[in-house]
Amino acid sequence: MKHTLVFKTLPILVITLFVFFGFKNKVNTTSYKCMIQMTNYTGEGAYIAISLLNPDGTYEKTLYIQGDDDEWYSDITEWWKFHGKIRADIDAITGATISGGGRTISVIQIDDDKIDVGYKIRFESAVEDQEYYKDDVEFELTSESVKSKVDGNGFIRYVRIIPQ
């Protein structure tokens, strides 16, 4: 008898707690300083899309775009398949392109609940009339990796990131 009561009340309790915490922790976000250092390639400034990927590896959110001329956005092929459809407002998170050898510091916002649960961050890079790198830099978001330096495979030499 007592057992059945526990069985009946526990889910309700769990749900209540869930809902309660769900509302109360209106998901904290943290700002991260993120520095992108480019290799000494020659040519136009690179367009770089920084995106958040969910554990399945699909796009969830655009975190930042280096490059403010949307004429060239379709060159960042994979990201464009995601962003091109929804065209979210990204005006607030765009910066200028970065030329070869240059570096830039941008600030990105990541929800705290995306850390240590398999979410990934991806840096795609494309240069006019040159290659496109789908995963120039890509790593899983862990409490360690969000204060680290990761080397790139394409136009990016490395990316450094630290919480603000």
């Binding site: 700002s31 300083k33 136009e44 004429e71 570096r103 603000q164």
Partner: protein, 727 residues
């Protein structure tokens, strides 16, 4: 030789690139407003440029959590990227003295976005950029060929900026504006080409690298960043951008991008870790950008804007000049071959207008059953049956052969001629040029020295394509050949208007009379224009200079015993009607911008002046009238109009000369010599002298004026101050 290549390439370049240039120019006009509108934004802080970097940092530190970068943009607005105390990352314009935000970054207006895109890539991405870069290069070539054409035309580099002779307004302003727009145009095109080359990485890369500072002190001194000597000595004017160290690691450093170099600065002791000087390529890129876009300076942006407008004008005037030239190119279909013709007409023409006269003579000769062959001077050859040669030629530049006469001299020397030919040469040109008909003189001399050519008539020079002077020559020439040629002005369809006779004076002792005609429909004309009349049953046009009295046409006509037209006009009575056309003759309109005007005429040449001195719009201009006639009695008929002008204070002086009076034997040029003080003053004060009447009188008058100018003013007579209408 060269001139034609330059003109040809100038035109070819223009045609092939016109649409793109038009697009680039129109978008360029829009884009010129962007730097202007940015500059007018209120984000520039007074004296910010002399404020030190360390103070700026200090202020920012106290206002915000963390600083990422400080930037001084092309408009001299200070931009900071910071973390606000609420933990938000923001970029905005600041006042460096207070570190407070004074505005959000200017967002590029959609119209500028659109125009920029169209301007640099036609919405075709790389293909478009390549096209635009190439077009910019073509425009540069056009500017260069244009300079060469001006130099050629003005007769040398030294005269590049000397006065241009006005022949048509399109041509005149094409050159005038060309001279001024030239430098900005070359800058725009070179920077445009440079920017395109940069986009395609066709420029050598900047080889300068960061050089480490070897004398880094080892002592681990720790200073506050606001105490760095470097930061204290640098003002905001020196910097383009300062990036703050990424983290607190000692390996992370400040990046200072200055106007001509980049420094890495240790974040704990303020020492320069390494530096890189900007190479030529980097500097050139940055200047190309500023010069091409006008960023940061309103004045240059306005210069760019004006240059864009001048390009539009070049396109318009350039093409209309080309079309005019095409129109002038009259094709003549020869009925006879060169070896079958008795008469040979050879034409030398730069613009094609001289062909019209050749065609008139050709038609007249064909009508008389003569065999004629017309061609260009360049096609000079042997002529088996020819007995007569006529050369019509203009002159190019400083006495050079026109385009289609360039090889004539060589051909005459090398091609043997079987028959002896009687020749005469007619030169077409403008008295405004120093080398009036100079090439015709050369051709005349060339033929004279040739064994097979016998002079028939001496060289005749025709000013401003005067048809009357041409007709005069034709009469002379045809008489010498025992022909009676009737020539017709090459006319398009005649738009004859109906005029009513208002008044006709009796014929005076000089066989002259005045006739006043009223147009029956609204007609625009001015004194100095010509009235063209075709008397009944003839196809020959007669031209008379018009004096405009009120809205009526006043003509002064000398009756010739067998003159068809003068007799026809003489028998007209009040209220009779006649058909006539008005021909505009701008070259002999009253110069409204002059301060003083001297009018010189003899006989019936007074007609246009009678209109000019009675025009109420010429109040502020002083006029002096010189007139020469045979007797006092012949003056009577004009006195009414002259007295009226005197009474209304429109005429400041009148000087009469009579050649056939008992107590006076004086010509108009004698009266000029007597009044040399007046004439030299008018010449000196940039006044204008107008001459109307017979060619003999004109030649005498010009000689007298030349004497006055050289003796009184010590300069040769400036033909730009002389307007003539003589026959």
């Amino acid at each position: 030789m060269t001139i034609s290549i330059w003109r040809y390439s100038h035109l070819t370049l223009a045609i092939s690139s016109s649409i793109f240039i038009l697009l680039a120019t129109l978008t360029g006009i829009v884009l010129a407003f962007e730097p202007v509108s940015n500059q007018l934004k209120p984000y520039a802080v007074k004296n910010a440029d002399t404020f030190s970097l360390s103070k700026t940092i200090e202020n920012l530190k106290s206002e915000y959590d963390d600083i990422i970068s400080i930037e001084m943009d092309k408009n001299d607005f200070v931009i900071a990227t910071v973390f606000t105390n609420e933990g938000k990352n923001e970029t905005f314009y600041i006042n460096p003295f207070t570190a407070k935000k004074i505005g959000n970054l200017i967002e590029k207006a959609p119209i500028f976005k659109f125009a920029t895109n169209l301007h640099r890539s036609l919405f075709l991405k790389s293909t478009g950029r390549a096209i635009i870069g190439f077009i910019s290069f073509l425009l540069l070539l056009m500017a260069i060929t244009g300079v060469l054409l001006i130099i050629k035309r003005q007769g040398g580099k030294k005269h590049f900026f000397s006065k241009i002779i006005k022949e048509g307004s399109n041509q005149y302003y094409h050159i005038i504006i060309g001279r001024y727009a030239l430098i900005p145009l070359i800058i725009i095109t070179i920077s445009g080409v440079y920017l395109s080359l940069e986009k395609f990485s066709l420029l050598p890369s900047d080889k300068n690298v960061h050089i480490s500072n070897k004398e880094i002190s080892t002592e681990a001194s720790k200073l506050n960043m606001t105490d760095f000597d470097l930061f204290k000595s640098i003002t905001l004017n020196d910097i383009e951008c300062v990036e703050f160290p990424f983290s607190n690691d000692v390996e992370d450093y400040f990046v200072l991008k200055l106007k001509d170099k980049e420094l890495y600065v240790n974040q704990y002791n303020g020492e320069v870790i390494s530096q890189k000087k900007d190479g030529f390529v980097t500097l050139a890129s940055s200047y190309s950008m500023i010069l091409h876009t006008g960023q940061g300076t309103i004045i240059w942006a306005i210069v760019l804007l004006l240059t864009c407008f001048s390009i539009l004008f070049f396109m318009f005037s350039g093409f209309s000049m080309t079309f005019d030239r095409r129109k002038n190119r009259i094709k003549i279909k020869n009925k006879f071959s060169k070896d079958a013709a008795e008469y040979i007409i050879l034409v030398g023409s730069e613009t094609g207008s001289t062909f019209g006269f050749a065609k008139v003579l050709y038609n007249a000769l064909i009508a008389q059953g003569k065999s004629v062959f017309v061609s260009e001077l360049n096609t000079y050859s042997s002529y088996k049956k020819a007995a007569h040669l006529v050369v019509f030629t203009s002159t190019y530049g400083d006495g050079e052969a026109p385009a289609n006469a360039r090889y004539f001299e060589k051909l005459v020397r090398t091609i043997p001629q079987k028959n002896k030919l009687q020749y005469s040469v007619v030169g077409f040109g403008s008295l405004n040029y120093k080398s009036f008909c100079k090439y015709a003189i050369i051709v005349d001399a060339l033929l004279q020295s040739h064994q097979k050519f016998i002079p028939n008539l001496s060289l005749r020079k025709i000013n401003n394509q005067s048809f009357i002077a041409f007709k005069n020559w034709v009469d002379f020439w045809s008489k010498s050949k025992g022909l009676n040629l009737e020539i017709e002005k090459p006319e398009k369809i005649s738009h004859s208007k109906l005029f009513k006779v208002i008044n006709k004076s009796k014929i005076n002792s000089d066989h002259s009379f005045l006739i006043e005609l009223e147009p029956t429909q609204k007609t625009h004309f001015a004194s100095g224009d010509l009235l063209s009349i075709y008397p009944k049953n003839t196809h020959t046009e007669r031209l008379y200079s018009i004096g405009k009295i009120g809205n009526n046409v006043l003509l002064s006509i000398k009756k010739h015993e067998f003159g068809i037209c003068s007799n026809y006009l003489n028998q007209l009575k009040e209220n009779d009607m006649l058909f006539a056309d008005i021909k505009q003759n701008k070259a002999f309109h009253f110069p409204t911008s002059a301060k003083e005007v001297v009018m010189i005429s003899n006989g019936t040449g007074i007609a246009p002046f009678l209109g000019m001195i009675n025009n109420e719009n010429h109040n502020h201009i002083k006029t002096y009238l010189f007139w020469g006639g045979r007797t006092k009695e012949s003056y009577q008929m004009y006195s009414k109009h002259i007295d009226k002008a005197f009474y209304n204070k429109k005429l400041s002086g009148i000087y009469l000369s009579f050649s056939n009076e008992e107590n006076q034997k004086k010509y108009v040029q004698n009266a000029l010599a007597e009044n040399e003080e007046l004439i030299s003053r008018v010449l000196k004060n940039k006044g204008v002298i107008m001459i109307c009447g017979s060619i003999t009188m004109r030649n005498g008058v010009l000689e007298t004026l030349e004497n006055i100018s050289s003796s009184k003013l010590n300069i040769p007579l400036n033909m730009n101050q002389i307007k003539t209408d003589c026959y």
